[in-house]
């Protein structure tokens, strides 16, 4: 498989943060380095491509790549919310434990501080099992965005988060379509 990525120096969807609320960064980090976050999603899908039937490889490439675009949107939100905060403000936002380890740097951990781990993702080598895992991951990511949206009243960041939530809905749908494609393999004549 040959792959090339072309980097465009802009976000997939604009990120505007209007409220100085470092507290929200602590919740957003769940989608950065959490189990159902964007890093997990990107690595899960791109890795599964090698052993999946040809017809759905392109889908995993598309969605896996888009997840990296989402990761950059989340990073932008977290960075904007924390880059100008003093240690005192970060402490008030519940980010003292982050500060002692990372200062103002971002890091791949979840909202509770657990570092990202490959145990969050799976590649079973069974196409149905892998795609069902992907569908479940999308639904969990959609739910996480809902719970984050519930925790802010900044209409601009909510706009970006609603976009990301909607993409999870679409990704789940496309993975379901991929399952349908795999079901059809039963009816095609196989040439070995």
């Amino acid at each position: 498989m040959k792959a090339i990525w072309i980097y465009e120096k802009k976000l997939q969807y604009p990120v505007r943060v209007s409220k100085c609320d470092p507290r929200l960064a602590k919740m957003l980090i769940e989608q950065y380095g959490g189990a159902d976050g964007e890093l997990s999603a990107a690595l899960r899908y791109l890795n599964q491509r090698y052993s999946i039937p040809d017809k759905v490889i392109g889908l995993l490439t598309d969605i896996g790549t888009e997840e990296f675009a989402h990761l950059e949107m989340i990073a932008t939100m977290v960075y904007k919310l924390t880059k100008d905060a003093t240690p005192e403000q970060l402490r008030a936002a519940g980010l003292a434990d982050h500060y002692v380890n990372h200062s103002h740097a971002l890091f791949y951990h979840d909202a509770a501080g657990n570092p990202w781990t490959a145990t969050y993702i799976q590649a079973k080598g069974d196409p149905i099992a892998d795609l069902y895992e992907d569908i479940a991951a999308e639904e969990k990511a959609r739910a996480t965005y809902q719970w984050i949206i519930d925790n802010t009243d900044d209409p601009d960041i909510v706009d970006s988060l609603r976009f990301l939530r909607e993409r999870e809905v679409v990704h789940s749908l496309r993975f379901r379509e991929a399952v349908e494609i795999l079901k059809e393999y039963n009816h095609t004549k196989k040439v070995f």
Partner: protein
């Protein structure tokens, strides 16, 4: 505490892009370049702290002393 040597600043200032749409007021950033980076080899021909002061400071050499007072975070103090 005893006197702090007036050595060249151990702090570097840098700025990052601040958008007019950023939610929080801008903060100037600093990072520390401790003296072990600038003078990587100890030599015996240097000025020394008095023994008791050296024990408290953690180094025998004033040139390798890197204070970190609370104000250091803002970069004003050495």
């Amino acid at each position: 505490m005893s006197t702090v040597e007036r050595t060249p600043s151990q702090w570097r200032v840098y700025r990052s892009y601040h958008s007019p749409f950023d939610p929080c007021p801008p903060r100037t950033r600093y990072f520390n370049v401790p003296p072990n980076v600038l003078q990587p080899f100890q030599t015996s021909a240097r000025k020394q702290f008095a023994p008791h002061e050296a024990l408290r400071k953690g180094t025998l050499w004033p040139e390798y002393f890197s204070p970190y007072p609370p104000e250091a975070r803002g970069g004003e103090a050495e």
